[in-house]
Assembly symmetry: C2
Homo-oligomer: 206 residues x 2
């Protein structure tokens, strides 16, 4: 593509660095901004700059936040004795959207992945162990729920965390793997189906 303007070419190059946006889409977006009033571009760049410069991470759970402590950690309604460990911020949003969880979170910032060079020290694991230790004095953590991806890396991280947390004598659980609600048995893969049978829920004990 031979763009007759260096200015647009630069903008297209920068926009197409974003995930899932190619050169053609980037050009469409750039030309859209050119067609619109200048205030739209100003509002966009200001919002991006402010977000990048002023964003903070909660010092307790590492969730995104506008203050030192995120709204979830700061809320008196949330159960501080229950911590749900997730990979990243989007997982927090996903679980929050279910309206099923009243505890707090801990954002790891990724999972252990030797291939990508991510070891335990790159994640916020130390901070989680510290958090559990400090909480012991006034509001002890009762349970840590591991809500990581059902991938090899996710499972590895779960095992690592479980080992570390067991030393502290806390209940550790993991979210259920099984057939999605509305899913049909015959279209579920063998591994998922196998796991869902092994980890079956006992109705009669309720």
């Amino acid at each position: 593509m031979n763009i007759p303007s260096k200015l647009i070419e630069d903008a297209v190059t920068e926009i197409s660095r974003l995930p899932g946006i190619g050169k053609k889409t980037a050009l469409r977006l750039a030309l859209h901004l050119l067609k619109q009033n200048e205030v739209h571009t100003e509002a966009l760049t200001l919002a991006l700059t402010r977000m990048r410069e002023e964003i903070q991470y909660c010092k307790t759970c590492h969730n995104i936040s506008d203050a030192e402590q995120c709204s979830i950690c700061a809320s008196a309604k949330r159960d501080k004795t229950l911590i749900c460990v997730v990979e990243d911020i989007r997982d927090v949003l996903a679980i929050e959207n279910t309206n099923q969880f009243q505890g707090t979170y801990h954002v790891l910032g990724g999972v252990i992945s030797p291939i990508q060079g991510i070891g335990p020290e790159e994640l916020t694991i130390e901070s989680l162990l510290e958090r559990v230790k400090i909480a012991k004095e006034d509001e002890p953590v009762q349970e840590v729920i591991l809500a990581l991806s059902a991938t090899m890396e996710g499972d590895t991280t779960s095992f690592y965390l479980a080992k570390k947390l067991k030393e502290k004598g806390i209940k550790i659980s993991t979210i259920a793997r099984g057939i999605p609600v509305g899913g049909e048995l015959e279209y579920t893969d063998e591994v998922t189906l196998g796991r869902s049978i092994m980890t079956r829920i006992n109705y009669s004990s309720d």
Copy 2:
């Protein structure tokens, strides 16, 4: 979606104003920028701001340009007696990519559309007529090619332009409508197929 940060929410709102980008994609892009080094966001916002503030439009053909005259109008290699009228800048890029056209362009900035409230005076039609008139003195325009969309609005605009330009005594042509190269007859719609027969090209006269 309940985003726990006003800063991210603002960024998501602004990003999702772009065409074809919804709230979910906008959030993905915002979180991507947060994960990356700050310099990436800075480069993006700078490129957008510079593009919007410094962009110029060629005073001859209204194409995007970094100077008063675009590189096509300024080039000595391009045939100034041949003007191709297009709707917008993307059409210029599309035709340039074919490497088949050595004339110059004229960017209308849209097509006549009473429904959207776009009349001839909203477009650069007056500037085109003026351009033809001025050119008459040293390098007279020989032919104007109308390369507008094959829609009702495009056709209306073509008719309007043809009428205005006929008064000036210039050859007027329009790009061929027909079956795309590689297209099959049986899957072509009736209107296109009908037109391609009516406007058939005479091989024997070559």
